[in-house]
């Protein structure tokens, strides 16, 4: 080690608290980068590898019923590599428990081909075995449902198959590439307690649903170079008359879409967060090193006088940045690794891969260190420039007193109102305006990151409130196995505990505008209904129209349609009419995409007299168990959803996860806030020690002297809070753009409490800094400080 390097070590040691604070902020940035980039790589690789390994299908289509012979024709469609027909049915499950506490749950039964270990969407068995084709009751259950209910091989559940209560014997637990992310009919959040997937032998399932030699679902892979669009068109042509609901590619497959969406959000996260942290790193580095160069002016001049080149002098200060970089990376990389492991564990609760291992990506580590280096070096570049311009002659003369002038309030004529100490504070802050501005900006970023971190909770709470209390005001949503006539309404009303019934009609359709098209159900709620409302993001209620479709703004955007445009609608049910409807209005709603039409208008299109697809029920909670049992036993009911259960699951899974993420974000924000506040406070103590020692000698008490610095700190903090809150809101808005998908939109809703906590945390950090200032000043050696020339 060269002698000059010892000075680097000693300077670093002397400035350890400040440099430590800078390194801590940098470590957070590095950790987020390592975590999100590595997670991105891990998740992306896992998704691709799993899809390839399990032969995840490229094309999907559901239909009403077609004879098996059609399946053979479909397999011959040009562009199809391999095609499988299946029987898929949603049924209500009976999970046991006493009659008044039966939990409503929906099971999706999927037939397994006889060569299940060689087919498409191949299952990965986690426990147990595949069903014996000769044993119709043997069933495999999806991992999420099994975990949520503590089920495993040897257990059984009951399901209502075509009106018959049937026992399903569980022989295995598995994952499927089709249900990595499991969303039930209730959507849009995963709910492993009330939705599960069950795979069983084709024969048993077909027999139960009268589907012998028939199928109602098709999955296929494409031959290399085949056109998805052409294949879908060919499949739709063949299956139209069999009630085909429209073929679609992987891109629209629910699980795949959610996963892709999550990858996009991760990518988003890997951009915004680290930028903020590394920006703060640059600011703090600048504050610390520029002041250091200021105080070491004579030392630098002396070194120059002894013949050190500007390059050697510059390198000396660059090494300080490298010390911070090394410390930041030494903490940040393992922290990112650890956070990534936690994130992977969290993901594996929602994304059911056979294994989701967090693999630290060497490129992510290298990349994050490279980005952090840029941030650290950017912080010292100006100070190094100043250091290399100091001439040797400066060593021979004392530095002239700093040049001050009256501050702005004094120039505006308020001088008389200000005590000398207040003038000192204002003039000092104004003279070091760049440092003051950077401190304010740094503290404001701390506030902003805090707002951003906490906003996620607010937004999800808002989303849940809107969805579960304002939009869905029903207690149970019942889907019928087949559309029925109006008499079903009084039937449902007679069930135990039902207080109100509102029917709805929903039909699958393809909407087309110009060259763009999209599969979309058209929903007609009961006219004048109270249990379901169409709400926009500002809480305004919209009504379905007779004169055209009202659609989610997001759907209109996807179709490239504007109000008044004609939308071609292919209804994929019944007579499969094709009509042209006007786009009558759009709604900025929050969840999924929807298209609504007045019930009378839809009935007219379908040429039916108010058929019913399902009903929304308001119930007497005291009789909920009885009702659920009755619904589960009803052969007309394909499934039903309990809003309370959805909400509870939502709170216990998504909300808890988000709260944990919020805790991490908040911790990071506290690091920024403390980092900036502590660094500026320590810097000002060093910078002003001579002035403050003079005041102490002149008879000022410790408290009076501390008040000057604390006052300056308070001014900076108070000045930083309002722009910090505004900046936080701006971050929130930018972040919501990243979440603006067709699955859900995150509203830029920030609870006043979030603002209060964010501001409060930074003010608390300032208080901490005030205590630190006081401690440092108490340690000030008056005699030594006054003897030193600067």
């Amino acid at each position: 080690m060269q002698t000059l390097d010892r000075k680097v070590v000693r300077d670093a040691w002397r400035l350890a608290p400040q440099l430590g604070a800078v390194a801590a902020v940098m470590a957070c940035g590095v950790a987020i980068l390592v975590m999100s980039w590595s997670m991105l790589v891990s998740l992306d690789a896992t998704q691709r590898e799993y899809a390839a390994e399990a032969r995840f299908a490229d094309v999907f289509v559901h239909l009403k019923r077609a004879p098996e012979i059609v399946g053979r024709r479909l397999a011959a469609v040009p562009g199809i590599d391999r095609l499988e027909t299946r029987v898929v049915r949603d049924v209500t499950l009976d999970l046991g428990g006493s009659a008044d506490r039966r939990m409503p749950a929906v099971g999706r039964l999927i037939s397994l081909s006889d060569e299940a270990d060689d087919g498409l969407n191949r299952l990965t068995l986690l426990r147990g075995r595949l069903p014996d084709p000769l044993e119709p009751a043997e069933t495999i259950v999806s991992e999420g449902f099994a975990t949520a209910h503590g089920l495993g091989p040897g257990d059984h559940v009951f399901a209502v198959l075509n009106g018959r209560r049937t026992r399903l014997d569980l022989v295995g637990v598995a994952t499927s590439p089709e249900y990595v992310y499991t969303i039930g009919p209730g959507g849009p959040f995963p709910d492993d307690r009330s939705f599960g997937v069950f795979w069983m032998g084709r024969r048993g399932l077909a027999a139960a649903f009268d589907m012998a030699d028939a199928f109602n679902d098709v999955v296929a892979t494409l031959a290399p170079g085949a056109s998805l669009r052409d294949v879908c068109r060919a499949l739709d042509g063949e299956l139209g008359r069999y009630g085909g609901l429209g073929a679609y590619g992987r891109e629209f497959q629910t699980s795949h879409r959610y996963l892709t969406n999550e990858l996009r959000e991760l990518r988003n996260m890997s951009r915004v967060g680290p930028v903020v942290f590394l920006l703060v790193t640059t600011i703090l580095m600048h504050l610390v090193v520029s002041r250091l160069v200021g105080t070491q002016r004579e030392q630098i001049a002396t070194l120059a006088a002894f013949g050190l080149t500007p390059r050697e002098i510059g390198a000396h200060y660059v090494k300080l940045a490298l010390v911070v970089l090394a410390s930041g990376a030494a903490v940040g990389v393992p922290l990112g690794w650890w956070l990534g492991g936690n994130l992977a564990a969290m993901y594996s609760r929602f994304f059911r891969f056979p294994t989701l291992a967090f693999r630290i990506d060497p490129w992510a580590v290298g990349g994050s260190i490279a980005v952090a280096s840029v941030a650290a070096l950017a912080g010292v570049v100006q100070a190094v420039g100043r250091a290399v311009r100091i001439r040797p002659a400066a060593a021979m003369q004392p530095e002239p007193p700093a040049v001050y002038r009256p501050s702005l309030p004094e120039r505006l004529g308020f001088a008389g109102l200000l005590a000398p100490t207040t003038r000192m504070m204002l003039r000092h802050l104004e003279r070091r305006w760049l440092g003051s501005a950077l401190s304010v900006f740094g503290i404001a970023l701390g506030v902003a990151v805090m707002v951003l971190g906490m906003f996620v909770g607010d937004a999800v709470q808002h989303l849940a409130n809107v969805q579960f209390t304002e939009v869905q005001r029903f207690d149970r949503s019942v889907t019928l196995a087949e559309p029925a006539g109006r008499p079903v309404i009084p039937e449902l009303a007679r069930l135990p505990g039902v207080v109100a019934v509102e029917s709805f009609r929903v039909v699958p359709a393809t909407l087309r505008c110009g060259s763009r098209e999209r599969r979309q159900e058209i929903m007609a709620p009961a006219s004048g209904g109270e249990l379901f409302r169409i709400l926009d993001d500002r809480g305004r209620v919209h009504e379905p129209r007779r004169d055209g479709l009202v659609v989610s703004a997001r759907l209109a955007e996807l179709l490239g349609a504007r109000r008044g445009d004609a939308i071609e609608v292919d209804v994929l049910e019944g007579r499969r009419p094709r009509v042209s409807l006007r786009l009558a209005g759009t709604v900025d709603d929050l969840v999924g995409t929807s298209a609504w039409l007045h019930a009378d208008a839809l009935a007219a299109i379908l040429e039916e007299r108010h058929a019913v697809s399902g009903a929304l029920l308001a119930i007497d909670e005291a009789r909920a168990g009885e009702l659920d049992a009755a619904l589960a036993d009803s052969p007309r009911v394909a499934g039903f959803v309990s809003r309370d259960l959805q909400l509870r699951t939502f709170r216990e899974t998504i909300a808890r996860t988000l709260l944990r993420m919020r805790a991490v974000n908040t911790l990071f924000a506290v690091v920024i806030a403390c980092g900036v506040v502590v660094t500026t406070a320590r810097q000002s103590v060093i910078e002003r020690s001579r002035d403050l020692a003079s005041l102490r000698v002149l008879g000022f008490t410790r408290r009076e002297v501390a008040a000057i610095l604390v006052g300056e700190q308070a001014m900076l903090t108070v000045a930083a809070v309002p722009p910090g809150l505004l900046l936080g809101y701006a971050f929130v808005v930018v972040t919501t753009w990243g979440y603006d998908t067709d699955l859900f939109r995150v509203p830029a809703v920030v609870h006043p409490r979030t603002y209060a906590i964010s501001a409060g945390t930074v003010l608390a950090a300032s208080l901490l800094a005030a205590v630190m200032i006081r401690v440092l000043l108490d340690r000030l050696d008056l005699v030594a400080v006054l003897k030193a020339r600067d």
């Binding site: 007193p401 700093a402 000192m424 002035d691 410790r702």
Partner: protein, 235 residues
């Protein structure tokens, strides 16, 4: 006869630097009368700065006693020492130690604000001949002017004690003389006991009494029958 301003007995100050002990003062006995102007001479390391720091309650003796009027400074805690400086002592430093963010008059006012019966800051500046530079910042003043502001700041509270640490050390002769004239005049005006330390023997003639320090003790003492005027000094 009135009580002396200071009575010191056996003042000892030992600094511990790691394993080594350095005795900066070794049993100093000293009486200073009220209104007396004392110059302490001595080479570097003779202990004069340590003595001044202890008289100003910036430092505490390791052994011995020091009484200012009726205040026992030996046992005073930090708050009492701060109060002592605030109420009774004015300091003038070699490197001025002005607050660069405050103008000349504000540098004086900052002390006046916490004093019990100060003179108006402008008057203090007038006493050192800087009434017309009141609104200048330190960066706009020459070294001599800065030191005169420091003198004004020291005397604005009408202190009973004026402690000056090499007040001319950073100044040329001509400027040093101007500063000393201001010091001598105003210390007489307010009747302060003044202690000035310097290694410049040429200054000693302006004192009532001269103490010579060496190796941490008072090695010699003499009284000037007639005090010289600063303008007659040469060094």
């Amino acid at each position: 006869m009135s009580l002396p301003a200071f009575t010191a007995r056996g003042l000892t100050r030992i600094y511990r630097l790691g394993e080594v002990e350095v005795a900066a003062l070794t049993g100093v006995d000293l009486d200073l009368d009220r209104g007396e102007f004392v110059v302490i001479l001595g080479p570097s390391g003779s202990g004069k700065s340590t003595l001044l720091n202890i008289l100003g309650a910036l430092d505490a003796p390791t052994a011995g006693s020091l009484v200012f009027q009726d205040h026992d400074l030996t046992t005073a805690d930090d708050a009492a020492r701060t109060a002592y400086r605030r109420d009774h002592v004015g300091f003038v430093f070699q490197f001025y130690n002005l607050l660069p963010a405050l103008t000349a008059v504000e540098n004086v006012a900052v002390v006046a604000d916490i004093a019990r019966a100060p003179m108006p800051p402008a008057e203090a500046l007038g006493l050192v001949g800087l009434a017309d530079r009141a609104d200048h910042f330190p960066a706009q003043l020459s070294g001599g002017e800065q030191q005169r502001v420091a003198v004004a700041r020291a005397i604005v509270k009408r202190p009973e004690v004026l402690l000056c640490d090499e007040p001319t050390g950073a100044l040329d002769v001509k400027t040093g003389v101007i500063v000393l004239e201001a010091l001598v005049r105003v210390s007489a005006d307010i009747g302060a006991t003044t202690v000035l330390i310097t290694h410049n023997a040429g200054i000693a003639a302006i004192a009532d009494r001269v103490l010579i320090m060496s190796d941490g003790r008072i090695a010699g003492e003499r009284a000037n029958a007639v005090r010289a005027a600063p303008r007659d000094l040469h060094w």
